[in-house]
Structures are given as C-alpha cells and as structure tokens.
Symmetry: C2
Amino acid sequence: MTLLALDAGGTSTRAVAVTGAGEVLGYGRGPAGNPTAAGIVPAADAIGGAAGAALAVAGSADVAVVAMAGEQTETFREEVTARLAAYGVRRVVLDHDLLALFCSGTPSPDGYALIAGTGTVAARVVDGELDRVVGGRGWLLGDAGGGFWIGREVARAVVAALDGQTGPTALTPLVLDALGVGTGSADPDGAAGRASAIRQVVSAVYARRPVALAELAPLAFAVPDDPTARAIVVAASRALADLVDAVRVPELEGPVVVGGSVVVRGILAAPASLARDLVPPAGGAPVVAVPDGLVGAAVLALRHTGATVDAATFVRLRDQVLAAAPAPV
Amino acid sequence: MTLLALDAGGTSTRAVAVTGAGEVLGYGRGPAGNPTAAGIVPAADAIGGAAGAALAVAGSADVAVVAMAGEQTETFREEVTARLAAYGVRRVVLDHDLLALFCSGTPSPDGYALIAGTGTVAARVVDGELDRVVGGRGWLLGDAGGGFWIGREVARAVVAALDGQTGPTALTPLVLDALGVGTGSADPDGAAGRASAIRQVVSAVYARRPVALAELAPLAFAVPDDPTARAIVVAASRALADLVDAVRVPELEGPVVVGGSVVVRGILAAPASLARDLVPPAGGAPVVAVPDGLVGAAVLALRHTGATVDAATFVRLRDQVLAAAPAPV
C-alpha cells in the first residue's frame, strides 16, 4: 500500500509518498495549494503537481491526506479527488493543518499546537483530534503576536520615532530601506528630512495590501539590542503565550508543537540576551519546533489506514521526510 | 468687507459669511469638501456650492478661509480659487482643520486641540498657530482611541465571546444586528449557532473596507454597564489622554478644545456610572467641546484681515454661527 501525504500551504505545497510501514518513497513540491490563498483550481493543480512528483517512483497511491488551513469545502475536495484519481488514489482526506503540524512534532496523541506566521492560531489536541482551536481570525480581527502584528508595530514605532514622540530606534533605517524610502537632499536627521520620511512611510504602507506589513516583522528580530524592537518582540511573545494559555487545560499534559516563521525563526532563534526577556510559548512544557506539517500529514495518512504510529516509527518517518524535503522557504 | 469661512470636512462642508465686525450674514452647506476624501474637483465643487448658499444675501466676499484636514496642495487651492472668483473672492487661505477646531472653542491664542472621530489627532497651539501636531496617521499606523480602533476592539471582543474565550457581552447582539448576521435555525447560544455567527462576522468584516469598522464604535457607548464595552471605552479614553499628553508642555497652559464623534458624543456624553472610570482627555485642564471648525474658520478669516478677535467678539460670533448652522450630522 502506498500513501500520499500533502501539506498544502498558502505559499507552497509539499508532498511525500510513503509505504504502509512508513518508508518514504518520494518527495514533491508545488506552488500554493491552499484554496483560500490561491483559488480552488490553482490550488488543486498545485496539489496534483506535487503529488505527481512524489509518486515519480511509486507510480500510484491508495489514500491521500491533504493538510490545509481554513474551510474544507466539498468543491475543493472534488477538485483534488479528480486530480489525484490520475494516480490511482481512491480516497482523499482533508485534514486541518494545525493537527498535521502537531503530528509533525510528536507521536503523542495529546498536547498543544501553535502556529505563528503572518497570523496566529493555537489548538489543543486530545486523542489525536483537534479538541479546541483559538485564533486564526486574520489580521483585522486577531493574530496578535503574528507577523502582521509585529510588522505593524514596527512601522508604528518608526513613525513615532521619526515624529519625535519617542526616542530614536535602530528600526528606522531598516524600515526606510525595506520600504524604499529616501530623504533625497534633505538631512535625514533634520526636521524636514524626518517629515519627508514620515510622509513616504505612510504613503508606502497605505499603497500596499495591509497584510504586507508582515514583511517588516523580521526587522524586529534583526536588532535584538534595540529597546523599541525588544519591546515589540517581548509583547509578541506574551501574546503568543496567551494564545497557548487560551487552549491549555491543567488536566492535559503534552508537548507544545510550534511552527511558523515568527516563532521558529524569530522567538525560538533569539540570541540569549533577548531570549531571557521573552515569554516562553508554553510555560514549562516541552516545546518542539517543526518546519511544517508534512511529517504529520504522513502520520495522519498512516493512521487513516488503521496503523498505529509508535515512537520508533514516528522518528524513522520524520527523519526520512526531513531528509527528503529541502528546508521550506 | 465680507468674509467667507468654510469647514471642508470629509463628510460635509459648512460655510458662513460674516462682516468684518463678525456679524453673520448667511450660512451654506454642501457635500464632502476634503480633496483626499472626495477628490479635488468634487471637493472644490462642494466648497463652491456651500459658499454660494452662504453668500445668498451678501452676494460677494473679499477673503475666504477654508479649514481642511490633510495636505494643502496648490492644485486644490487653484480649483477653489476658481470657484470662489464667481463670488468676487480675491484671496483664498487654506488653514488646518485642527487650528479651526481650536479657534471654534476659545478666543485664547494658546492651548490644545484634540479630534477623535474615525481617526485621532492632537495639536499644541501657540500664539494662534499650530506648534506641534501628533497622530493623524490613519487606521493602519495610528488612531488609537478613535472610531476605527474602538470598532475593531468591539468586533474582536464579540468574536472572542462567541468563541468562548471570554464571557458573554451585551455587545454581541448589537454587533450581529449591525452586521446583519443571523444564526438561521441554529440555536444562537448553542455551539453550532455561535460558530455560524463567528464565520458570518468574520466574512462581513473582511468584505467591507477596514475603516468601516468605525461604524461599530457607537455600540461600545451604547451598553455602558457591560464590562467588555466599558473596558474598550476606558482604554480609548486613556489612548486619547496619551495623545493630548504627547503635545502638552508644562509651560503652556490653555484650554483643550475637543471635537469628533468619539470624544463629543461618546466620552464626554458618557453617563456618570461610566464617566467615573474614564481618563479625562486633558488631565485637569478645562475642556471645551465643539461640533466642528466652522466658528474657528470665521475667527481665522477675521484675523487674516488684521482684526483682533477679543472674547466678546468671539462669543457673539460663536453664538451667531451656532444659531445659523443646524447641528452637524
């Protein structure tokens, strides 16, 4: 029996083919496979393409699990089913990306998951199922501590500093550079230069999609000794810890599996001088960082065949998938 | 000598004609006269129309002062000058709406101004001129405590309550009604009904322009005994007090003139039970609420002719303008 596992994200789609015993047979990759991000047909096409690459050796598969964020519509399932029928797939299961992320980090049936990329969402997992999900309402209604939120705070802080409301911050030159803002012949530290810079920052921000502010988030982690940047990152870490707290119940122990650029490449990768001020995302519980939900999608595919994925199988599967898959962009 | 004073806002334009001694000769009204909100030509047309109505008796004017928010471009000045030339106006002065607002509330040359409508901005006024302005960066980069900010907090609070992250709030039925969200046949208090309501709220919010969230702001003031609404309004009052603090200097005393629906119809109109928790917008300084900047535009017009507007002239002019102008919408 061959199983196909896919992590259909808003930026890229990753696929692996595995045997019923959890041995990796192939890997594939495609563009965005999330129907909300890419549209239903392009997303299904991306999934079909990644599946084809993963099945280059095996040729066909029996069951496919697609891990995805957002609503799992019947229309999307039909489109994906039609694409994967070409590879013999008879059953397509859509699963939540949060559950796949959790299963990428642990063979435990119980615990917690946190994703902090552009947006934020957390879940409690009980008996291998999502028991409670909070967050995930997008940049206008939620996502505190995520990339959009951090980027917006960075932009606000730079405007306030240029305006003299707060002291100077090392974020200013980074943001001006990122937004392509110059002060021309005006002295960038003089009143005219600063007023010109503010006007250009404001214009640049409102000219882009609001969510593009997330592109400024890495700047907050780039100057860890700057007090302004530090305050933003500390506040973000607190918001993410609050999000995990919102799903945590005392009677359920288990690891906290985390994913997304803000938490994996930002908070968990912070230098010691910054890390000591950050609120850990999970109190005292063990934290496992994962690059995406691909390993977990394979775990879920195995479970859908009735197999039990014990710790040894999990570790072998995880190591094989991570070896096959290049690091996600 | 006849003077024309206009307050060219993003929703409507008001005009008065006054004599050089400050006696009101006529009143006019038109649609949005702010070039950023309405476009340069429609805004100039609105100003021309309101001016014509205000000059119905006087026939012509010598000087016009236009109070407006945002950038005062030469192109806009030329368009307005062309419209007002039909009424004999030879000189058009564009002035900042914040200064006009301040001069609507006091004959003092020194003090502070705060506008909290959809957005927020504050200024220090010294010797009859704007000395320092903070805020006014729009919903994405500023405006804490303004109508957008309050409306966003209201929407977030309702989603959190429906989601069980927080306790119930009296805001929920108000927001569902305002957004036209029903739960159909599902029990609105059951899990399915609440999940359906959340989906519809999220869809409705993202389907509108972000700034339309400001329409939910009055709901926060509608249920003053609800702890959730109260917390939002208290936080807004604190943000507005912080904004005034950002322009305040100990050596400059003077009244704080406030305008905009959030502060005038919300914070200053709060019932005593709510008011005792609010942060006053100006510490212990006297606060003067004004409906708009029309009186101040007339004061500025008189000053531009070289006249001194003493306290008695100010009071007479103010009372005449307020008697001539219907309450702003």
